[in-house]
Subunit: 228 residues, 4 copies
DNA sequence: AATGAATGAGAGTTCATTCAT
DNA sequence: TATGAATGAACTCTCATTCAT
């Protein structure tokens, strides 16, 4: 175990000074873990960055993994909370989707460590990894199910829809937020276009379709060109 | 042809015995890397599993990373080839999507190490990681663009659509292949339902819509129940 | 008087509250040192057990070793005092031996940490270790010499006899008090039998010897059986 | 676990070079453990002394403790074997005792690390500690029981006698081999005197007793003087 | 006197890689 | 080619002790 427990030393600091130290360490850990991954990060570097002595890390965390797990949980709840705030008060469910997607991209842009930390969690602590996605999915599923019940969305299996939408957001963010910052408006529009109407051609007016086709074809070729 | 031809990144064995040793090592590596991750895996364990001596690893691979990168590339090309085979000769583009999704799930079920190896590639060798997804996306985008051109699919930005569909497949596979083996037919149906028609309620015949709604609503509730 | 008077090796508390804290720490130290050994014990655990803060230890002891040494000395003097009390007023010297042996076993049973603390003292502070045994041996030798002088015991080198008797008591206690609680009366009887008459067969009356032999032979075999 | 196992790396070396390395490490470990105790010894120092690299220790031992336990077992069997050799062919049982005692003192003198290593084993690995004494005691008890059966020794509980004799030897060795090298002949004589005839005064010829008394009294006083 | 945060030297252990055979 | 011993840098974690409050 750790050297501490109830009376002597705790992991939750009691003094204000302790609070500050712990926070500094956690922030440094978020940065370093995001930069180097779990294995690549060293406690020494985290402490150096936090301006603490090596041993101080263990005043606040039982071990390296615990700090990592705390970060995963924290990123998850920060993300969920930002998403909730972003869609608050929006009535139209498709607008909710748009705002949510946008908010996710913003979050990812402000927390570029998100992907690396969450994805590597699978190797560090599978439960934390599952927790992250399951909590997101649960909230998402519930929202979708409600909207379907109320006739605002087409009726689908909400959990399948939730994982589909999460996967979309995840991959689009990886591609256009992480790898190559692009015109996010365009990405959001494109994604909304897809998730709103799906792939299949509506049994519709041929003239309109042709016009649209020409337009997007150009985009298509440019995109393909750009990436080998 | 590309930067990953046989002679680059690997030390090609000349004798048949060497061929066999190399393959045994690679198979062992795939297993161990999939089980323990890149950092967690040790060359010693790989050699033990392959029945080779510790030093022999370096007869065939310059270092640990090289073997890992080769695996990522190999998984990528095996997957692309299986997908291509699976959809070969299918005319209807939506049937192509269905068959592709199914083939991906099958592949993931047979290569449960896929997710762990590919995802961790980001930390081991970012180029290999990008290559994996970019090659998949390029092929996918091209196919979608063609189908859109030919009027088989609604016209969308094909790269956005490709990443969206890849994200869907990835997350659905993670959820229903990796985490919890479920009724894959149901998942494929649900995913096709979503990706075909999207979320928005069609401005359609009220009677049909109502009927469908009631039917699927029951499914919905069951699903929610089943997964917390 | 000697080099271990109250004010040396300890920081004497002045207030009553201080007295209590010091004692609590010492008791906790005795427990933890006995449980984990000198190196295995941590100041943190001692403080936790004592209900004190980590820093408080150093209010009363200059360092870890000082507390340990104080315990060794204290165990030594407590033991010597109990032994002295136990044999007080006993006239027959062999009865003194019996009572002393018994008292030692009782002490060891009540202070199971005794062996571990004293034996490890050799590594922590050799002088304290020697002091412990030399003081015991000195008192013992004196007593034996006196009894020999007075014709109550056979005349032997008293120091050799003292160390022999201490070794006997030590090992018998280790075996039948520490390791496996047995029938102590039987052990005391057996030990007295040995230390009274020694190993050699007296040039005695054949009939009695034969009878005794048969009787004890049975005990013998049972004992051997019982302990592998 | 260790990085090694069946095919890749073993703890038992297969090459002659490996044999030599292992032996060098074990000898160095015996020296350093004996000098500094288990906790005080560092693998680094052992390797330095053995002329090996730090990591090589772990080629042959899974951890520090394993090497220690191996030493305890090895000391135990070396001692038992020397004792067995020393008494081989001796008919008179009391002569066996004398030769055994002497052999033990010799062994202790040549392996001054014996006491420190064995005694600290209690904290490092209790089973090894028990094994050491129990094996000695078992052999000893058997020998004593046989001699008692055959009428060569007075009949006593052989296990009690064995532990008594082991304790005597242990303490006498500690006092006159380890602490202060003395006249071992005198110690052996004195010990034999005690263990042969015990403490009690035989109901014998007064004249002889008086003579003996005077002789030993002088020794007594000298001894007492010498040690405070 | 008491608290608990801070310190940092030092430990055991792992393991990718090299090398002699 | 194959083997397995050898290497040593690097890591996580512990804990006695000090110090500011």
């Amino acid at each position: 175990m750790n050297q501490h427990s109830p009376s002597v030393g705790r992991l939750a600091p009691v003094t204000a000074r302790g609070q500050r130290s712990r926070l500094r360490l956690l922030r440094a850990a978020e940065y370093v873990f995001g930069q180097k991954g779990f294995e690549g990060a060293s406690i020494a570097e985290i402490c150096r960055r936090a301006g603490s002595a090596l041993g101080s890390f263990y005043t606040y965390f039982p071990d390296k993994k615990a700090a990592y797990v705390e970060l995963v949980d924290s990123l998850g709840s920060r993300l969920r909370s930002e998403l909730a705030t972003a869609v608050e008060g929006i009535d139209d469910r498709l607008d909710v989707e748009r705002a949510g997607l946008r908010a996710f991209f913003d979050f990812a842009a402000r927390h570029r460590q998100l992907y690396r930390i969450v994805r590597q969690a699978e190797f560090v602590d599978p439960p934390a990894f599952h927790r992250y996605y399951r909590k997101l999915a649960a909230a998402y599923s519930t929202g979708l199910a409600k909207a379907m019940d109320e006739g605002e969305l087409r009726v689908l299996d909400p959990e399948i829809a939730a994982y589909s939408l999460m996967g979309m957001a995840d991959f689009l963010g990886m591609r256009w937020v992480l790898w190559e910052t692009g015109d996010l408006d365009h990405v959001v529009d494109g994604a909304m276009d897809f998730l709103t109407g799906g792939l299949s051609v509506p049994p519709a007016k041929p003239k309109l379709a042709t016009a649209a086709k020409r337009t997007t074809k150009r985009i298509t070729k440019a995109s393909l060109h750009a990436h080998r």
